[in-house]
């Protein structure tokens, strides 16, 4: 049988339409026992949950951000006739993570969908501000040169959570015309409303402002696809239109230095749009069983928001703007070509080329900055429209050395050409090799390693000289870099044992040996493992573990000369997860248990010529998350569900720890506290099923 299957699979692989259904005598294939689905089936669950505490961060993705009782409603259903299908789904209707979707159509002819989702983002619920809703100062405010002199501060502080909600509406459909043509259309509207943090800066003082934002982005995807027996082509349009309800943000400075009765003003994210046309396709050739895939995109991004004046202060002299709007425009071109082939038995080769171009055609002008609304700099600066061209060539081959052994090797060559930056031409060569052992069905082991060298034509320090950049500094994304990496991946399902094991190891070492200032070294190490035990047909358990370490070293210069300080970063995170699932206990009960623990630890050691080694306290985080779910089937149609969740999260973060609004003399902060919460969420619900749970063959 295996031989037969292989003999069939090969022609299929090369895309040759071999033997068609019409060649098979199916006159007796009546499918009389087939339980084709028509009619209605659905299940709905209604219940309530209780969260034991306020925990904004926990509300991210869960919806349980405040202490209290929540109503829950979930459901899904399906209705079909011989010709038409309709599906719907509801999740978390009573929470701020609610989701609803309906889709349907006539399979093989057309389809449609309509969906709505909300995603809460809760950054801080411990923040306090003096600012009024429109970022004005409160009545009775006493300004001062530093926060310590703001005598009305404590009385003026009000809680203002930093949070937002994203609401997403999706709609779309597709239509098939015969066997060759299809068209699709997708629309998405995303609205993000809420409050984030933005800096309201002055000369040497600043305030953290709770900014109200209201963004809306519409996206449209339209396409037509043509299909041949051995290939297809798609022509697609993508449009993205961003709209910000606020053009400018104004605020009153709480500092008395440089006081002005008028408001400071900054620009908000400008309305912009991006439109793109893509032609893509693939074709399968019989020779060498090769496949060619290609895509070509051309796009344009535009931004033409009316510009604000140099300063909001009428008393400050300023030049007329060179333009009323930016007339900003970026043209993009993206091209990709991939060819894979099997020129002989056991050999697979691949060549891929990719080209990305961002051509910023925004006109340049000279602008005379007014420094923080107060002082006309008197110096003209040109805006810099950054452009780049990036290309990648990948060549690789894999050869089956023995029955279960494969060796492969590859070479990647990247180029990156930039305008207006220190490095105009950058190249990167990567060579790698891999050995893989994959005995039939039960194990897969891979060892891969290689090196890459990123080189540059020259580092032109004159580009940033006018900005006062230290000529010894090498930006890490532009600098020369040599990298070595090795990766080991293993997975196995032990023969005759219900145990699956997976493990990965990765290590890379980066050396920026030609950088006297900036990043000089980086190292990344990852280790993961995953064990699954299928105890029986109704019971399973798992264990997962992961550990990641990222180290980096950098050199800095406070004296605008050689390095006089260094920083060593040691970023660690590890986690362990265990769980089990028991199904059909007494044919009535399902039980699921999941526990995750995660620990983050980031150490930054700073050494200076003057003070020696002065490490910052470790940045630490600790997560414990427990989830227990129980489902009890009280009848064919009714289930009782119970869910218990516990989560504890705490963090030590020196950037926030003990930083009250007035702690920093020159910064009026929002006083956010490091995350620290633990709470329980307990929920019960009743799920009712319409229609049969089981599928029975037709008698």
């Amino acid at each position: 049988m295996r031989t037969i299957v292989k003999s069939l699979a090969l022609p299929i692989l090369i895309g040759s339409p071999t033997i068609v259904a019409a060649d098979v005598d199916t006159s007796d294939w009546l499918c009389e026992s087939c339980p084709f689905e028509t009619g209605y089936r659905a299940e709905y669950e209604a219940g309530a949950s209780y969260a034991s505490d306020d925990a904004g961060r926990f509300g991210n993705g869960t919806g349980y951000d405040e202490k209290g009782t929540y109503g829950n409603f979930d459901g899904s259903g399906h209705y079909s006739t011989d010709d038409y299908q309709l599906d719907w789904m509801i999740e978390d209707l009573g929470l701020s993570t609610r989701f609803a979707e309906i889709s349907g159509g006539q399979q093989g002819s057309y389809g449609f969908y309509l969906a709505y989702r909300e995603i809460p983002y809760r950054l801080f619920d411990t923040t306090q501000t003096i600012f009024t809703g429109n970022l004005g100062l409160p009545a009775g405010w006493v300004g001062a040169g530093s926060t310590s002199g703001m005598t009305a501060l404590d009385a003026s502080l009000r809680t203002r959570a930093i949070e937002s909600d994203r609401r997403i509406l999706d709609a779309g459909g597709h239509w098939l015309s015969g066997k060759r043509w299809s068209v699709f259309a997708d629309f998405r509207r995303q609205r993000k409303e809420g409050i984030d943090i933005i800096a309201g800066s002055g000369f040497s003082q600043a305030s953290q402002l709770p900014r109200v934002h209201d963004y809306e982005t519409d996206q449209i995807d339209l396409g037509i696809r043509f299909r041949l027996p051995k290939g297809s082509a798609t022509l697609a349009y993508y449009g993205s239109f961003f709209s910000n309800k606020n053009d400018a943000l104004s605020w009153q400075s709480p500092f008395s230095t440089f006081t002005n009765p008028e408001r400071n003003v900054m620009a908000e994210a400008p309305d912009n749009e991006f439109q793109q046309l893509t032609l893509s396709g693939n074709y399968r050739f019989e020779s060498w069983r090769s496949v060619l895939t290609a895509s070509l995109s051309t796009g344009t991004g535009e931004q033409d928001e009316v510009l604000l004046p140099y300063t909001s202060f009428a008393s400050v002299p300023s030049e007329p703007l060179p333009r009323a709007t930016l007339d900003g425009s970026v043209d993009t071109t993206n091209f990709a070509l991939t060819w894979t082939a099997r020129p002989m038995d056991g050999l697979r080769v691949k060549a891929a080329y990719r080209y990305d171009d961002r051509d910023n055609t925004t006109p340049q002008s000279e602008w005379t900055r007014v420094i923080v609304d107060f002082v006309n700099s008197g110096e003209a600066e040109q805006n810099i429209p950054y452009s780049f061209e990036r290309s990648k060539l990948n060549l690789s081959a894999e050869y089956r050395l023995f029955r279960d052994w494969r060796v492969s090797a590859g070479y990647d060559y990247k180029t990156l050409d930039r305008d207006f930056q220190e490095v105009a031409e950058q190249t990167e060569d990567t060579g790698w090799g891999q050995v893989r052992w994959r005995p039939d069905g039960w194990a897969d082991l891979r060892l891969r390693g290689g090196t890459s060298r990123r080189d540059i034509d020259r580092y032109d320090t004159s580009v940033t000289a006018s900005a006062g950049q230290n000529p010894l500094l090498r930006k890490y994304n532009l600098a020369y870099r040599y990298r070595e990496f090795v990766e080991f991946v293993a997975s196995a399902s032990l023969p005759n044992a219900p145990l699956s094991v997976g493990a990965t190891f990765y290590r890379s070492d980066d050396n920026y040996s030609r950088s006297q200032l900036g990043m000089t070294d980086a190292r990344e190490r990852r280790l993961t493992t995953d064990v699954t035990w299928a105890i029986s047909e109704t019971a399973s358990a798992y264990l997962v573990y992961g550990d990641e370490q990222i180290e980096a070293a950098q050199l800095g210069s406070a004296g605008f000369s050689d390095a006089d300080w260094s920083a060593a970063h040691d970023d660690n995170f590890d986690h362990v997860g265990i769980g089990f699932a028991l199904r059909n206990i007494g044919e009535k009960l399902d039980l699921r248990f999941d526990y995750t623990r995660g620990n983050g630890d980031s150490a930054i050691g700073v050494t200076t010529d003057t003070n020696g080694f002065r490490p910052l306290p470790d940045l630490e985080s600790e997560l414990d998350s427990l989830r227990i779910e129980v489902e009890y089937r009280s009848s064919e149609h009714l289930e009782v569900t119970a869910t218990l969740r516990y989560e504890q999260f705490s963090a030590d973060d020196w950037a926030l720890q003990d930083v009250e609004p007035a702690t920093i003399p020159t910064l009026l902060s929002l006083g956010a506290e490091p995350y620290d919460y633990d709470l329980w969420v307990f929920g019960v619900g009743f799920r009712y099923r319409f229609g049969d749970r089981d599928i029975a063959l037709v008698d």
């Binding site: 800066s201 693939n282 691949k350 602008w367 997975s491 995660g598």
Partner: protein, 318 residues
Amino acid sequence: MMTAIASRRHRLHFVIGWLLLLASPSLSLAQADGDDGPDYSRKGADSCFACHDDQATLAVFRTPHAVPTDSRTPFGHDQLQCEACHGPGGEHGARVRRGQERPGVIAFGEGATGSVAEQNAYCIDCHGTDTGLGWHGSAHDDDTITCAGCHTSHAASDPILQTSTQANVCYDCHQQQRTQSLKPFAHVVDEGKMDCGSCHNVHDTTFDAMLVRQTLNQTCHECHAETRGPHLWEHAPVAEDCSNCHDPHGSNHPGMLTMRGPMLCQSCHSQAGHPSLPQDADGLPSGMASQYLLGQNCMNCHGQVHGSNHPSGSKLMR
């Protein structure tokens, strides 16, 4: 979120794929009669269900694979039913002598009986030019992943097509991403409100890093279009590659930054008049409480790090 569209798009394409793929009568793999052809069963699915009548198998009738009015599906008119995917089952269903091993058919997923190429051939033959437009040459193809390694084609609800369950399927292989998703600052993938498909098109090699859009930045701008610009004053690394500063899979640092500020900024900025001062423990609240270190460090003043559209915003403060 951003989830929704991408995953919906994938789902849609998956369905379209099935519809289109099966539209081709060349789908089927064999011939029943003729001396040289493989031996199909006598009664098609009715023969199979004589033995394979468990719920897991029959659940295929709650999937798009079993819509009889769609002539392209395995259970469409004149199609080969179970044997469209599992191959000819004549020998498998025939009587065997005592002690003789029953010949197998193609099985997928756990307990698969065919090679990766054999298994995928059955899927790609129908889906190859639609869902798998760029499958060939993709990282998943390079790694010889089976379609059934990710997809559960008999389930009424394929876990990898559901936003709430997709990531756990991906994590089976992408264990590092599971680790990163648990870091203190990450997208809400682990909570099941985004999925991997929000950013990645796992079937396609035509876009960079198997992303849903041509480049990383274009992908990020799907949800973060406020950073797209073009701005009057651009920040060069932002315009080039979001991952210069952010790790989208998760980080120990706020904003999913790759390194804690101000050191991240100091990796590229060391200006005269605004010197790159070492920020050590002296800058903590117990010391002199430095605004260059605490709070949002550099962003305490330079809040417009993604670009500014203010005529006086060249220092990204307005």
